[in-house]
Subunit: 131 residues, 2 copies
DNA sequence: TTGTATGCAAAAATTTTGCATAGAA
DNA sequence: TTCTATGCAAAATTTTTGCATACAA
């Protein structure tokens, strides 16, 4: 993998983003920095960076795959149902082994919490639609 | 929504399945009962049944949408990394509000646990590849 | 009849691949 | 020159939609 302008741009976008971003989002950010960059190049570099362990895939239920910097401590994600933004949730839950049947082996887990972020909770106060 | 043979077949497949199934899976089961049934009909009925509240969408991270009978008590899912089967996990976790920042409002959550089911855990004992 | 449901094929939406060419070593 | 990277377009995947026809009331 050569250190081209496209490769550098995509790596930097991922490094600078706190929350996970989708490939089309990365593409539109990259377009501003490298006009004409193709979406295929974005997908290819996201793949390279994932294999290299520099970024991690973040799969949220029912959503297209996102990517975030690797190396963060174990964490989960919060999806705001107002603004659709995704936030990191540090911390985790207790013993998951108590949830699985006897003989089942737990390797890992994903938790996604849905709700309203601080801003949307404030804006929606009083006008909440049944969710 | 008329009670046709296709509608009845698809509803029954969903009623009888313990674990969530994908639309293509429903289609192949339905093909055995109603030869020539189209995948579009399957998607249309899955949509109708979802709107009617008879079945529920199950979104697992990184996987195509699945469907299961509605009305089950709150539960989560276990994905076996050996056989890829999906199991229901009854029970739940403690207080999720402790995980979210101040001012955030929790509405719901999804938990997916990955590992090996009893059979795959037994088969894999000793031959485990690093996962 | 009158209207809904169906199957097929085409269309969307997201991601991957093939290929000729541009660019880097 | 030699090889990788790129952009474009086409393909693959999953789901939705349009439409003419079949079927039900």
């Amino acid at each position: 993998v050569r250190d081209t302008r496209q490769a550098r741009t995509i790596r930097e976008i991922l490094e600078q983003h706190g929350e996970p971003v989708t490939a089309p989002e990365v593409h539109s950010y990259a377009m501003a920095l490298v006009p004409g960059i193709g979406i295929a190049t974005v997908y290819r570099h996201l793949h390279h960076l994932t294999v290299a362990g520099e970024i991690a895939r973040v799969e949220l239920p029912g959503q297209p795959c996102r990517f975030e910097r690797a190396g963060k401590p174990h964490h989960h994600h919060f999806v705001c149902q107002g603004c659709q933004r995704v936030f990191d949730l540090m911390g985790c839950l207790g013993d998951l082994r108590s949830l699985v049947p006897d003989g089942f082996e737990v390797i890992k887990h994903d938790l996604t919490v849905y709700g309203h972020c601080r801003r949307c909770a404030a804006e929606n106060a009083g006008t909440r639609v049944g969710v």
